[in-house]
């Protein structure tokens, strides 16, 4: 993987690495991808992919509003202002 491609991946995955970490992980990833390349040799176009190991009927939940009784403990895992969660600037 080219340095440019690796830097792009770091950016979109929002991962910051030190120079030492970057060298080590980039090197590891080269070895891992060589190992993963073996799957590309498998050639059975007729087989359908298995997104899950079993057949999932996948009925979505009804679009109903449910009240979460313990709102305070839910918000206790965030910083809030007047009941709103504070996040970074967009």
């Amino acid at each position: 993987m080219e340095d440019k491609e690796f830097d792009r991946l770091l950016k979109i995955s929002r991962i910051k690495l030190s120079e030492e970490e970057k060298q080590r992980i980039q090197n590891d990833i080269e070895g891992i991808l060589r190992y993963f390349d073996s799957v590309d040799k498998f050639n059975e176009a007729k087989i359908k992919p298995a997104f899950h190991p079993i057949r999932i009927e996948g009925h979505p939940r009804g679009d109903k509003i449910e009240k979460f009784e313990d709102k305070d403990s839910l918000l206790s895992n965030t910083k809030t202002y007047r009941g709103f969660i504070i996040g970074p600037r967009i």
């Binding site: 770091l10 995955s13 991962i15 190991p53 999932i56 996948g58 965030t78 910083k79 996040g87 600037r89």
Partner: protein, 450 residues
């Protein structure tokens, strides 16, 4: 031994039983790193530990990650809810693990777990603490979780029974996801009968997990065992010879054994890791430093800088998997890696399902003895992933499997793994129940003995 749970319930406990149990674990934990949190139980139930990626209301859940430090779930996972509803269990702690489940040895975390049978060696991962707790405590059950072998591997290295159900049998609601199409909540205990009790209590559809099912779970106890030669070829010579002695014992107990070839099985490791990393990279996207645990305070930064700074809290393996998973999902390579892996999974499910119609698969659980922590630390990622070769096929295909000791060598357990067809969960448990009539497990510790 049939059921430690029943034995515990039939005994009169000393008044200070739970205090003494707690004190002993507080004393041992800094040495073994089994628990991320110890709780003094206030009820009269069977000691129960919960892996730290499963939510218990009001108790910190970190999945052994610094990015989740301080996260207090405001709800119970369904599996916890169902167990506590019986009023038969008392939670004693949250168990240590590889960060988010990313590891086979229990060392990818702040405090590496140590094998209680030889403290220089790994306990196995990722449910390392669950296995250590089961090896330490006479009366206890662990709620654990497996994605690619995280129950079988530590159970094998610590010499306890570890059960992973068919995918979808136990609700994943309240589990801190690693890979949604692979994660399964299961159990560790000192006997197969205790595992059966836990499955009875926790199985079944949960509306809060759309992938959970109400499919009928069966208990077909096959007398035919199948060995896949490509798997056995990858096992350490010493373990292989001991395993074949065990197979001879099984033949004397009335089992027939058949060897088969399955070339595609070698592709199970790359296919598994490709799917797991792709799913993990999306699941970990929610950890961004303003909710769930670790928080940054400088809200003047734009969100890209803010998220990237918060995610410095991830350990090296987590960073590696997020980067790789993001790459695998890229439009330019998705068909080559991710889509191909899903096809390989389907091919393996079809082939293994045919084999398992009238048989169980049998193999050693791990291809190596538990390595020393220093040895495990010096392995490359590829060497590390390759040690999962025996536990990945059933996990990739959502097949129920159970690991149990069959012999001992220099004080360390040798464990085997039985795999059944999908939904034959009671079948694999019943196999181990039968084995336990002929074999007594050895435990170095019996903390909490009455």
């Amino acid at each position: 031994m049939s059921s430690y749970i029943e034995e515990f319930e039939s005994k009169v406990k000393p008044k200070d039983y739970y205090d003494r149990l707690y004190d002993e674990l507080v004393r041992l934990n800094p040495r073994l790193n089994a628990f991320n949190a110890l709780i003094k139980p206030d009820k009269n139930g069977i000691p129960l530990s919960v892996k730290d990626n499963i939510c218990v209301k009001g108790i910190e859940a970190t999945a052994s990650s610094k990015i989740l430090k301080g996260y207090i779930p405001p709800f119970n996972a369904t599996v916890v809810e169902r167990v506590l509803k019986t009023k038969r269990f008392s939670i004693i702690g949250k168990t240590n693990m590889d960060e988010f489940g990313f590891g086979s040895f229990g060392i990818n975390c702040e405090k590496p777990a140590k094998n209680p049978l030889d403290e220089e060696r790994v306990a196995g991962g990722s449910s390392s603490g669950a296995a250590i707790a089961t090896a330490l405590l006479k009366y206890h059950v662990a709620i654990a979780e497996s994605t690619g072998g995280s129950i079988s591997a530590p159970a094998a290295f610590c010499g306890v029974v570890g059960f992973t159900p068919t995918y979808s049998v136990i609700s994943r609601y309240g589990l801190i996801d690693y890979a949604n199409s692979l994660d399964k909540i299961g159990f560790m205990a000192r006997s197969a009968d205790d595992i059966r009790v836990m499955l009875d209590i926790t199985k079944g559809k949960d509306n809060r997990d759309p992938t959970s099912t109400d499919s009928k779970i069966v208990g077909l106890h096959h007398k035919k065992l199948v060995i896949i030669d490509e798997l056995i070829d990858k096992v350490d010579e010493k373990i292989r010879s001991q395993f074949f002695e065990f197979v001879e014992k099984l033949k004397n107990l009335g089992y027939t054994v058949k060897n088969i070839n399955l070339n595609e099985i070698d592709l199970s490791i790359p296919a598994y890791y490709l799917i797991a990393m792709a799913e993990a990279s999306t699941n970990l996207a929610k950890f961004t430093g303003f909710k769930y645990g670790f928080k940054l305070n400088d809200f003047s930064k734009n969100y890209n800088e803010f998220f990237a700074e918060a995610r410095e809290e991830f350990g090296t393996e987590a960073k590696r998997r997020v980067i790789l998973g993001t790459f695998i999902r890229s439009a330019s390579v998705k068909d080559k890696y991710y889509s191909k892996s899903l096809i390989i999974r389907k091919e393996l499910i079809d082939k293994l399902s045919k084999v398992l119609k009238d048989a169980f698969l049998i193999s050693p659980t791990m291809p190596i003895m538990p390595p020393k922590i220093s040895e495990a630390n010096s392995m490359s990622p590829v060497q590390n992933y390759a040690t999962d070769i025996l536990t990945i096929p059933p996990n990739l295909c959502g097949l129920p499997h159970i690991s149990f000791p069959y012999s001992y060598s220099n004080g360390l357990p040798l464990s085997a793994q039985i795999v059944g067809s999908q939904f034959n969960d009671y079948g694999v448990i019943s196999f181990v129940s039968e084995w336990e009539k002929n074999f007594e497990y050895k435990f170095k510790y019996n903390i909490g003995e009455i």
